[in-house]
């Protein structure tokens, strides 16, 4: 254990005592509860049944956010190191195209295809991390370039066409078991895409909170110089977090291809922004060093619940954008209040 890492722990422990800090730490969970209560109050009813609370409606909400949620989980690691990854949406699209192409042409089989696509995603992310650290470039710039490269590759591989996935046995057909990603289990309620999201989130929570790597991630984001001086392998950590976002984008792309039976070079546009919004609403600071995965997951689900309740009430889509904008500002203001207060101490 290094000095810097040890120091960062009591700091966060101290933060927990301050009520405002507690509120910020769990702001998205609180926000989710508020939205859920609002959802119950404003939900349309049919025969006295609250539509918002119906199991299949809950399933709709968590299914709709599963792809951006998976990406947001990875994005949390990057943002805790004070970085950013803009390439994730394009990488999702590239992964969906890769998945669809391999499934329908190479006949590689289900497991090898999935592993290959995830490996490609991780490699793409790691390459961005390497370029950013090796040449000391802002991650914003490197991943902005990565976004273009991933879209370009997706267009080249797909030959500017949508690649439809048909299922069955034989050449040109994907293994039918892949279609499970679009299914719902347990009495046709729980979407498989959501289960993937849950698994990704659980593994990530373990990595971030219970491993040495997780502590390194916080240390690098909290004070990179101090972390380096105290022996944290900063470059390795930074490359790893971009490999993680690449990896989860690969997973999200596979889920996308499986849910919608196609790969498209035009999909996933703007997903990076939704993911970043989920992370910020979740209480992770863009300045790095502090953040929570539970917060990110709650932030992602909150955005989905908000969209759902607005549509159930037939409220204009424009209002949804306005509401999301307001929530992001509110989350950022709360964070800055906490920072200022800590600065005074």
């Amino acid at each position: 254990m290094t000095q810097a890492v040890r120091e960062s722990l009591p700091a966060s422990a101290r933060r927990r005592l301050d009520p405002l800090s507690v509120a910020v730490r769990f702001q998205s969970v609180i926000g989710l509860i508020v939205v859920a209560i609002g959802g119950v109050i404003f939900s349309p009813r049919r025969h006295g049944v609250i539509l918002f609370l119906q199991p299949d409606n809950m399933a709709n909400i968590v299914r709709a956010v599963s792809e951006t949620g998976i990406i947001a989980v990875g994005m949390t690691f990057v943002i805790i190191t004070a970085g950013i990854d803009l390439s994730v949406g394009a990488l999702l699209s590239l992964s969906s195209v890769l998945t669809a192409t391999i499934m329908t042409t190479a006949g590689l089989g289900l497991i090898p295809t999935v592993l290959f696509v995830m490996a490609c995603g991780a490699a793409f992310g790691a390459a961005q991390g390497l370029i950013s650290t090796r040449f000391r470039l802002e991650p914003f710039i490197v991943t902005l370039a990565g976004l273009q490269v991933a879209r370009g590759l997706a267009l080249v591989i797909s030959n500017n066409q949508y690649i439809n996935i048909s299922y069955g046995d034989g050449p040109g057909l994907a293994p039918p078991s892949f279609a499970i990603l679009g299914d719902r289990l347990f009495d046709n309620v729980v979407p498989v895409a959501t289960l993937v999201f849950v698994v990704v989130a659980v593994v990530a929570v373990f990595m971030l909170n219970f491993t040495r790597f997780g502590r390194y991630v916080f240390a690098v984001g909290g004070n990179e110089r101090a972390a380096r001086l105290s022996g944290v392998p900063v470059t390795m950590v930074k490359v790893s977090v971009y490999a993680i976002t690449g990896f989860v984008s690969g997973i999200a792309g596979i889920v996308h291809a499986g849910q919608f039976n196609f790969g498209s070079a035009n999909d996933g546009t703007g997903y990076e922004l939704t993911a970043i919004a989920s992370v910020v609403i979740g209480g992770t600071s863009l300045f790095g060093g502090a953040g929570s995965l539970i917060g990110t997951v709650a932030g992602a689900v909150m955005l989905g619940a908000l969209a759902n309740i607005l549509q159930l009430n037939n409220i204009n889509a424009a209002l949804q954008l306005l509401a999301t904008g307001a929530i992001i500002v509110l989350a950022a203001v709360l964070q800055s209040l906490v920072r200022r207060r800590e600065g005074f101490r």
Binding site: Q54, N60, A64, Q161, Y162, N164, Q259, F260, N261, N308
Partner: protein, 324 residues
């Protein structure tokens, strides 16, 4: 409560009917005395044509007091559109209209809606299934036929003496672009004195159309007419013609879509900037008509494919159309 009663009555009448025919009503609950929610899942509101569809649908639905129309904007994203369709199913809307952003990705959720007993009418764009089986019906225009009409109009009315003609194509890989190009060329075949001397893709965009048509005019100064596969490209072609020193009317410009509003083709024809434009019908009024049959008249079957004809907008009717 009222819905249950109607359902009972409907059930009773269905029972009576089943004595003579085996056919069942398309809708689970129907009849003139109840109110109905129709959900429309639009592919992407941010396109002028799709906004026009929304407007026409809203106007048509307003005329039916029993109908409430809900429009959800898929925002050009298959995930968003799928979740909005799921929400419609949760809400148990009485009928769904959808213009799928992409065919394959939206096919499963359309199947879910049908399984939930909600009739689904596809508007303008199709999913992968079969009409009448995997979804209730398809209503839309026929790109090829619309472009044939435009071609015939050039061949018979605008240039009976023949001459050089140019074509501005949409985005090359897209189906409507190919259909409109082939349709127009088919339409002008009737007049052997007409020569298609240039055809270029301008990707539906006015700026690309302007550049492309300026180049065409350099290469073929005698071009007498240009067919643009959408209104936006026709507007671009006019700018190129003006840039080459031509006055309105010197070159006959034809658009497609026939959109209303200050930037649309109807105004351009009414003010003599273009020779004509051919509407790509929204199918909105036809869709509401079909919804009336299904929900109010308890129809047992409807036409599974409805092709809505185009309207030629020419100087004769453009001014009157502008009032609409």
């Amino acid at each position: 409560m009222r819905r249950t009663t109607t359902a009972l009555i409907a059930g009773a009448s269905a029972l009576a009917l089943s004595a003579s025919t085996a056919a069942a009503h398309i809708a689970k609950a129907c009849g003139k005395n109840d109110n109905y929610v129709i959900g429309f899942s639009q592919a992407n509101n941010a396109e002028p044509y799709r906004q026009h569809v929304n407007d026409q649908l809203t106007a048509a639905a307003k005329k039916v007091p029993q109908f409430t129309l809900q429009i959800a904007d898929g925002a050009g994203n298959v995930n968003t559109q799928t979740s909005q369709m799921d929400n419609f199913i949760t809400q148990k809307v009485d009928l769904i209209l959808i213009s799928p952003f992409e065919a394959a990705p939206l096919t499963p959720v359309i199947a879910r809606a049908m399984k939930a007993g909600i009739p689904v009418i596809e508007l303008d764009r199709k999913s992968l299934g079969e009409p009448g089986k995997d979804y209730t019906a398809f209503i839309g225009g026929d790109n090829f036929k619309i472009a044939v009409e435009a071609g015939k109009y050039v061949a018979d009315k605008l240039l009976p003496e023949g001459g050089e003609v140019a074509v501005l194509e949409g985005l090359p890989s897209s189906t409507p672009a190919v259909e409109r190009l082939n349709g127009f060329k088919d339409g002008v075949k009737g007049n052997s004195k007409i020569q298609v001397v240039a055809e270029q893709a301008a990707d539906w965009l006015p700026d690309k159309a302007q550049t492309a048509f300026a180049a065409m005019l350099q290469a073929h100064p005698n071009i007498k007419a240009v067919y643009a596969s959408n209104d936006m490209m026709a507007a671009g072609a006019r700018l190129a013609a003006k840039g080459a020193g031509k006055k309105d009317g010197d070159i006959k410009i034809l658009g497609t879509d026939g959109l209303p509003g200050p930037a649309g083709g109807i105004r351009a024809v009414a003010q003599g900037e273009w020779a004509a434009t051919f509407t790509y019908p929204t199918g909105g009024p036809e869709a509401i008509e079909m919804a009336k049959k299904i929900l109010l008249d308890c129809a047992d079957s409807v036409d599974t494919v409805v092709t809505v004809p185009t309207t030629a907008i020419t100087p004769d009717n453009a001014k009157a159309m502008m009032g609409n």
